[in-house]
């Protein structure tokens, strides 16, 4: 595989973590424009742990997930009492606060003659763990997709479980779910923390793939895209956000002949798609139909 294809596939994998994070909140009935903040928290935390404190990436990624979950809880505690667009606006504001905090973060140390660490708006250079460990791009791609496959498998198991049914119920009708004894706020806090951890894992991998991060990597544009991936791909299955990312990056990469105008073309396609299919390509109805076809096929074989 050539370097360009490896790069594109790695990017699809990395953004998919963010898209899955937004998807998890969407099926819990919450629209968040702020998941990029936890992606950023994960990137900065893991970057600092490996580049400054010399932790191995697996441990640093776990630390980043804990940081992402904690940051998400900090945002979720005051904002989850809000509903609909008010919650969406609050998450957007919180994400901007995180981005400004990244701009104010200066923590550099001399590592082998180079200043390494966050340097405010000038970014954070020298996150070189994968180079120091001699990990090839194709190996890193395999790592990203293995972790993504594990995350999707987790979603599939979740959605087949009682917990998954509760999650959908909370998303569709929280009052009804509360009437049968679901502690809505506590449940949603758990979802928010899990979504934060997932986004942070993606951020940790992104920082190490890129070797450099800066605050504006985590601004509103990334948040809007992550939400769009979940909405384009569909809310019926965890494969929906992945389809959304693949379509986004695929369309962007295949419309390079439009040069600078390809973002406009992409925006138009998204608008048309959402007008025709408001719950995305793989919405609940399509997923249910596909499930029926498979179960009928299975029954016929028996």
């Amino acid at each position: 595989m050539d370097e360009f294809s490896i790069g594109v596939l790695t990017n699809i994998g990395l953004i998919s973590f963010l898209a899955l994070s937004a998807y998890l909140l969407l099926i819990a009935g919450e629209l968040s424009f702020g998941q990029q903040a936890f992606f950023g928290v994960g990137a900065y935390t893991a970057g600092m742990l490996t580049a400054i404190f010399g932790w191995p990436l697996p441990l640093a990624a776990l630390g980043a997930m804990a940081g992402g979950a904690f940051a998400a809880l900090l945002v979720g505690l005051p904002t989850l009492r809000l509903r609909g667009l008010y919650f969406a606006m609050a998450t957007l504001a919180a994400a901007e606060m995180f981005r400004i905090l990244f701009e104010l973060l200066h923590f550099q140390r001399d590592i082998d003659g180079d200043l390494v660490g966050p340097d405010g708006t000038q970014g954070f250079r020298g996150i070189r763990w994968i180079f120091e460990q001699g990990i090839e791009p194709i190996q890193f791609l395999a790592l990203v997709w293995a972790l993504l496959a594990a995350a999707v498998a987790g979603f599939v198991l979740l959605e087949r479980s009682r917990l998954g049914a509760t999650l959908r119920a909370v998303g569709l009708d929280p009052e009804l779910a509360a009437s049968v004894g679901v502690p809505i706020l506590r449940f949603k806090l758990g979802v928010v923390a899990a979504a934060g951890a997932l986004a942070a894992l993606g951020g940790a991998l992104f920082a190490h793939h890129n070797t450099y991060i800066e605050p504006r990597n985590f601004d509103i544009m990334l948040g809007v895209h992550s939400l769009a991936y979940a909405l384009i791909g569909g809310l019926g299955t965890a494969l929906g956000p992945l389809l959304g990312v693949a379509l986004d990056i695929g369309v962007l990469e295949s419309t390079r002949f439009f040069h600078g105008y390809r973002m406009i073309v992409f925006g138009g396609l998204v608008a048309i798609l959402l007008a025709l299919r408001p719950r995305g390509l793989l919405d609940e109805r399509i997923v249910h139909r596909i499930g029926e076809v498979f179960s009928r096929h299975g029954a016929a074989r028996r």
Binding site: G113, D219, H259
Partner: protein, 154 residues
Amino acid sequence: MIRFIVFALLAAVALPAAAERPKGTLECKPSGTDFVYACTIRLTQGGKPLQGVKITLGADMPAMPMAHNIEPVVAKPTSQPGVYEAKLDLEMLGLWVVKLRLSGAVRDQLILRYEFDQQGARPATAGARDSMPHGSGMPRGGAMQHGAPMPQGK
């Protein structure tokens, strides 16, 4: 034994110098085609020109990492040691993070943060904007070489 200890100490002192990271600078000027820049890359390691390295250049707009980027291009070595050339087709003006992925004799990735405008490229400052209006386009011919000091990529 003493000889071994002296050798080990000397090796410990010498190794960091041998492992010194490569450094790179970038100098870009408009090529005459809209948003296409002719760039010269200078690579050094330990103060000496770094040769025999394959450089793949990529560029990302920081505000949309992973999605708003350019197709990577391989830089060609010139007759001067440690000097390479490449064309960057950036799609729009503004702040770009140029990545030099080194392979071959050295494996590393250097990051250079530059603001591209009608005159060429200059090191990005803290308040640099992500993009600039397209309308004015790029100057045709008469490309100006930018004289600003180039930061060392790390």
